[in-house]
């Protein structure tokens, strides 16, 4: 094998390695773009339902104001968080506001238990029923969103993906928290 042939072999091997490397980097890039898009898509899917639930909030607050005079601070917080949600631009901001809003809502419904007249109010019952119906649909989609976000968070922290993720400024995304009462174990009753 002459010197030209050795040179040819080196060129071929180097070419193959470079092509393989480029292909690998492109595949990592595509994978990162894909997981980010999956999170955005999953959030858009849940956002529709969250908006519907948020639309019920002013009606709920109006109904409750008359009964829950001593909870004004809490009611104002809910309205303020709702406005923050509308103003939030990124998926991450919206997720954070939604988590806070969710906590406030849980606290609010817990406090509402202390007002028997409110609990008997027809308007309140109707709104609560609608919100509960939306909640079960949200629960399914929240699980899917959290799965998508989890895959995204894992991908951007994996090696060698994290190198490209840092260059592209891909940061961790927040998960939508599951309300505490949904996390509690279901009590099984045996005869």
């Amino acid at each position: 094998m002459g010197s030209v042939s050795v040179f040819s072999v080196i060129i071929i091997v180097l070419g193959l390695i470079i092509m393989g490397l480029i292909g690998y980097i492109v595949s990592i890039f595509n994978s990162l773009v894909q997981v980010r898009n999956n999170v955005d898509k999953a959030f858009k899917n849940i956002d529709v339902l969250l908006q519907q639930r948020h639309d019920e909030l002013p009606k709920l607050i109006d109904t409750c104001k008359a009964y829950m005079k001593y909870e004004k601070g809490m009611l104002d917080d809910i309205i303020s968080l709702r406005e923050h949600y509308v103003q939030a631009k990124t998926t991450d901001e919206k997720t954070t506001v939604e988590n806070d809003l969710n906590k406030q809502m849980m606290a609010f419904f817990a406090r509402a238990e202390a007002y028997p007249e409110l609990k008997a109010n027809n308007n309140f019952i109707q709104i609560q029923t609608r919100v509960s119906a939306l909640e079960s649909s949200i629960a399914d989609r929240r699980e899917f969103f959290n799965d998508s976000t989890n895959i995204y968070n894992i991908q951007i922290e994996r090696f060698p993906h994290l190198i490209l993720a840092r260059i592209l400024n891909y940061a961790r995304k927040a998960l939508l928290e599951v309300p505490e009462e949904k996390k509690q174990d279901v009590k099984m009753e045996f005869p």
């Binding site: 094998m1 030209v4 042939s5 040819s8 072999v9 071929i12 193959l16 092509m19 292909g23 595949s27 595509n30 994978s31 894909q34 997981v35 999956n38 898509k41 999953a42 858009k44 899917n45 649909s137 399914d140 989609r141 699980e143 899917f144 799965d147 998508s148 989890n150 895959i151 991908q155």
Partner: protein, 424 residues
């Protein structure tokens, strides 16, 4: 039914047959290897015939009107030559090596003369190597695309499924009135050797064709007749059901994958069934029965056939994407039509299997490994030719001899000389 295991038929692998046919096979290999420089000239002819057959010759046909035929034919001729050289590389290298080792001088001289002093062999090597590199890259990219979709897409429940590419798993449930439609359009017959449809051999599957007991009507099935080499498939729409609901699935028109690598030529749209897979001496059968587990990655779209009063879930259908176009490489290069939907082809995935997500990934890896073996073999067969005859690659006198040897060669030669200003 032999579930989940492969059983080799006794008649298929008879040693007696192998011994009888061996000399014939060796003779064919020798002829293919020795006379390949002539055989590769069939490449342009194959390319041109392919283009005319696929495109049709009616200049007013839809999709062709107003488009010139010269470019596709020229492209077909070049690609056809490339493919012929690439595919024949192993024969050429083996026979060249054997003749060289035998020390038979007359035969060596004849081989050199046929190869025009190594010029043709140099191109054999380059085409074989390019084929291996391009094929390897493509197989790798496609497998990565499919694997990354499997890894990156979280599994949706039916109730939370959204429009777009989704991954679902559940149980296959038949549609009550699907039987009638099956008989109308869903049967296809294919010859496995060359993947050309052979309409005359199409037939409608009966349930006893699929299962010896004929207990259940299959939802999907593929029967490959080992003697006639005819591949008969049955596709029907069905429901995928999980604990949250059911969604319509339409896998019609999707090819079955036998588990070996096929990613080179086809877009990633496949059905892979392994659980109900059996082989006997006559045929190989794969099918999906009602109640079988299903894993699918596909595009969820609006079901245009759904009625006005259909529920929210009934308005959706899981199918191969109808908006993305990602046709097979061969068709795309040869015909230059059906261009890919750029930037979005990573979402053009449809994969249906009766295995779990983990096993699907495993099978894809195995299939791609099979391709890598072929690619490696091509590199091994091509590199010696490149190294030995590489210096003859741009031998213009040899090129002139080849061109003049072709039918209409003089015309091509003088045209090139005039237009490009080549002084061969």
């Amino acid at each position: 039914m032999n579930n989940g295991t492969r059983r080799k038929g006794k008649e298929e692998y008879s040693w007696r047959k192998t011994i009888i046919w061996s000399p014939v096979i060796l003779l064919v290999i020798f002829l293919l290897g020795f006379f390949t420089p002539f055989l590769f000239m069939a490449g342009p002819l194959f390319g041109m015939v392919y283009v005319f057959k696929e495109r049709g010759i009616d200049p007013n046909a839809p999709g062709i009107k107003g488009k010139t035929v010269i470019l596709p034919v020229l492209r077909g001729a070049i690609i056809g030559t490339f493919m012929a050289l690439a595919v024949l590389v192993p024969f050429r290298t083996v026979v060249t090596g054997l003749i060289w080792l035998s020390g038979w001088e007359n035969l060596q001289e004849s081989l050199k003369e046929i190869s025009i002093g190594g010029f043709v062999d140099a191109w054999f090597g380059i085409c074989g190597l390019s084929f291996a590199i391009i094929g390897g890259m493509m197989a790798w990219t496609k497998s990565l695309r499919l694997k990354s979709q499997i890894e990156n897409l979280p599994t949706s429940t039916v109730r939370s499924a959204a429009i777009g590419l989704s991954e679902l798993k559940g149980i296959a449930r038949p549609i009550e009135d699907e039987g009638k439609r099956l008989a109308e359009t869903l049967i296809d017959g294919k010859k496995k050797e060359n993947r050309k449809s052979i309409r005359s051999k199409q037939r409608i599957l009966k349930k006893e064709d699929v299962l010896p007991g004929g207990k259940q009507e299959p939802i999907l099935s593929e029967i490959f007749n080992l003697h006639s080499q005819v591949n008969t498939t049955l596709h029907s729409r069905f429901y995928l059901e999980d604990e949250t609901g059911k969604i319509l699935v339409d896998p019609r028109g999707i090819d079955f994958w036998d588990g070996h690598g096929h990613f080179l030529w086809k877009p990633i749209r496949s059905i892979y069934l392994e659980t109900r897979h059996s082989i006997d001496s006559n045929r190989e059968t794969r099918c999906l029965l009602p109640g079988d587990p299903v894993y699918i990655i596909g595009s969820i779209e609006e079901n245009t056939e759904a009625g006005q009063d259909a529920s929210e879930l009934d308005r959706l259908i899981l199918k191969p994407s109808s908006s993305l176009k990602s046709p097979g490489l061969f068709k795309r290069i040869m015909l230059g039509e059906d261009k890919k939907t750029r930037g979005t082809d990573i979402y053009d995935v449809f994969f249906l299997s009766d295995l779990t997500e983990f096993k699907v990934k495993d099978r894809i890896t195995q299939g791609v490994r099979g391709i890598w073996k072929w690619i490696l073999a091509y590199v091994v067969f091509s590199v010696p030719l490149v190294l030995i005859y590489g210096h003859r690659l741009f031998d213009l006198n040899a090129a002139k001899r080849i061109i003049l040897f072709l039918p209409g060669g003089k015309l091509i030669y003088y045209s090139l000389k005039t237009i490009v200003g080549l002084t061969l």
